[in-house]
């Protein structure tokens, strides 16, 4: 598989007053063509920040990219000029936002909003763009006659379909979906996921799926990156991660999914709180909450341990198979 997005040592910081919030720390990742990568992690793990830095739309100030490279199709996005970047946004990389209720402009018709994207990146007349917008609406399962309607006339699920239509209207090679179904109820979630899977196949684009729902990951992703405190703790194919999780954090995540078949009075949770991003623990960032923490974990940052071609984890114990079992 061709690697077409590669992130190396990405570090992003938010500054507010004297506080420095370390949102993304030295993050490495890669994404192959046509691949679907899932970003999984708790709130505040830096998933969205990473996605926004790929598009370079971090709010600046307060956010600042301190270092690292984001190599997309052989060019470093961080170094591009604003003009070159604008050509990439939407055309090459498109994004689906979390909340469809707020990601559409309330005073413009949905057709106009799709047209805007098309007119920005395609050389065509307003009329042709309007036609294409109608086609896009049909692709996502909305009657083309509704192009002249305003966003408030649509339901949440329909709005998310419109957002997807906008994102796909220029056939981007990379689609970033930032928790696209979090704001929707479960049945609509299933429909939207189905739609995204279908369209992904149709347009053959790669995708980054940001979520904290492991079920969605299993359904749609090829590979998974488990994020914690602004870095990736474990990376592997869905099979690797679900069958053989090696990092204690990944295991803890799976353990906290409630089991319908067992009579559980309380949810199993990961003890402690996610680390304060202004003060990330030394050594392994997960060590204060890790049940298998050793002295070494407190001081030394674990290096990547390769388990097979695609599967790696940042844990000293990753190699020691069977060291800990599901309790």
């Amino acid at each position: 598989m061709n690697v077409f997005l590669k992130i190396e040592g990405l570090t992003v910081e938010y500054r507010s007053g004297n506080r420095h919030v370390h949102a993304v720390n030295d993050l490495d990742l890669q994404l192959g063509e046509g691949e679907v990568l899932g970003f999984v992690g708790e709130t505040g793990a830096g998933k969205t920040t990473t996605a926004l830095s790929i598009l370079r739309i971090l709010p600046n100030p307060p956010a600042k990219v301190l270092g690292g490279k984001v190599i997309f199709k052989d060019q470093d996005i961080i170094q591009l000029s604003d003009r070159e970047m604008r050509a990439i946004r939407g055309e090459e990389i498109a994004m689906i936002f979390q909340d469809p209720m707020t990601s559409l402009d309330p005073v413009k018709t949905v057709g106009d909003q799709i047209c805007e994207m098309i007119l920005l990146h395609r050389n065509c007349s307003k009329k042709e763009a309007w036609e294409m917008a109608g086609d896009m609406l049909e692709t996502v399962g909305i009657d083309r006659g509704r192009a002249g309607d305003y966003p408030h006339q649509f339901s949440g699920g329909m709005k998310q379909r419109v957002v997807i239509a906008i994102a796909l209207s220029c056939k981007p090679s990379l689609l970033i979906a930032d928790e696209p179904t979090t704001a929707l109820d479960v049945t609509i979630q299933a429909q939207i996921l189905e739609l995204m899977k279908e369209l992904k196949k149709k347009y053959q684009s790669s995708m980054i799926m940001i979520t904290h729902d492991l079920g969605i990951v299993a359904e749609i992703c090829d590979n998974v990156a488990i994020m914690y405190a602004g870095g990736v703790l474990e990376y592997g194919s869905v099979m690797d991660i679900y069958k053989d999780p090696r990092h204690p954090y990944t295991r803890a995540l799976f353990d906290s999914i409630p089991d319908v078949h067992r009579d559980q009075a309380r949810l199993k949770v990961i003890s402690g709180l996610p680390p304060d991003p202004t003060d990330i623990p030394s050594g392994c960032p997960f060590h204060p909450r890790c049940p298998h923490c050793t002295e070494r974990c407190k001081t030394e940052k674990p290096e990547v341990v390769h388990l097979n071609e695609t599967h790696w984890a940042r844990c000293f114990l990753a190699q020691e198979e069977g060291r800990y079992e599901h309790e």
Binding site: G90, A94, E116
Partner: protein, 287 residues
């Protein structure tokens, strides 16, 4: 429903359709149209010239020949009110246009870019705001000299900070919304985002403030005319007529009544129209 699928309504047209349903707003629009027509056809409507004096018929109460009565020089008040609509409406609308365009632009840029740009613009606005609006208009009019154009410029400049503040506040709220981020994510330029996404979303407060602003501009202009920095007599201007007539209010109250009524009616119609427009422009209230 079927028709809707066939046709695409433009924003303007849809707004107007909704406005039509609001009776009070339509009444305001009607009055405003009457005033505009009066201003345009003043020569045909007014029975006398505005400066035609007739000392024998001075201080006449409303009667058949002079339906609004006559003033201290025997000039027909009705004709003067009719001609006065020209000046007052012109001053009101042009002064507000100056203020909305300049203030809106400054406020939008300040709100959108933030940082030192914001500081620079808004501190300048604070300086202007620290001077009472009427006093500022007086000083600008004094510096530029008396006359209609200078009067409009002075009134316009004096109300720039109000619009800058309103627009900035709305922009600050709207630029944080996700659809702005989404627009940036598809590669739209800053300027396009500002003009096509942010400004249309803060139209409602601007329109309401502008309609109220016309009233303020008419009153400020009247005040300036009163102290001799605005319209020179004998040119009729409602505010000037009002200030002039105030010395006769005990004995000849109709001299104040009609210009005052004209101002009140104009301002009332502008206010109800502004309110109606705000409702009509809000897409969330659209059916």
């Amino acid at each position: 429903m079927n028709q809707k699928k066939e046709k695409r309504y433009s924003l303007t047209r849809e707004t107007f359709t909704r406005l039509m349903k609001n009776r009070l707003a339509m009444f305001g629009l009607f009055i405003l149209c009457v005033l505009v027509i009066t201003a345009i056809f003043a020569d045909q409507i007014a029975p006398y010239s505005y400066d035609q004096m007739d000392l024998l018929n001075a201080y006449k109460a409303p009667c058949k020949g002079h339906i609004f009565g006559t003033d201290e020089f025997g000039r027909d008040i009705f004709s003067r009110v009719v001609y006065g609509s020209r000046i007052s409406l012109k001053v009101g609308f042009i002064a507000v246009s100056i203020a909305v365009v300049a203030g809106g632009l400054l406020g939008a840029v300040a709100g959108y870019y933030g940082g030192w740009t914001d500081n620079l613009i808004m501190r300048a606005m604070d300086v202007i705001m620290s001077i009472p609006a009427t006093l500022l208009a007086i000083s600008i009019a004094a510096a530029l000299g008396a006359g209609l154009t200078n009067l409009m410029i002075a009134t316009g400049i004096a109300s720039i900070p109000t619009y800058a503040r309103i627009v900035r506040a709305s922009v600050l709220g709207i630029k944080e919304q996700e659809f702005v981020e989404a627009a940036r994510a598809v590669g739209t330029r800053d300027f396009t985002i500002l003009c096509k996404h942010i400004l249309p979303n803060c139209l409602a407060p601007i329109i309401v403030q502008a309609t109220l602003g016309v009233a303020f501009a008419i009153l400020t202009a009247a005040g300036l005319s009163f102290i001799g920095l605005g319209i020179e007599p004998p040119t009729p201007e409602w505010g000037a007529m009002l200030s002039n007539a105030r010395s006769y209010i005990r004995d000849y109250s109709y001299m104040c009544l009609f210009p005052g009524l004209a101002i009140a009616l104009t301002i009332f119609s502008l206010n109800v129209l502004g309110d109606g427009l705000r409702d009509a422009l809000d897409p969330k209230l659209r059916q």
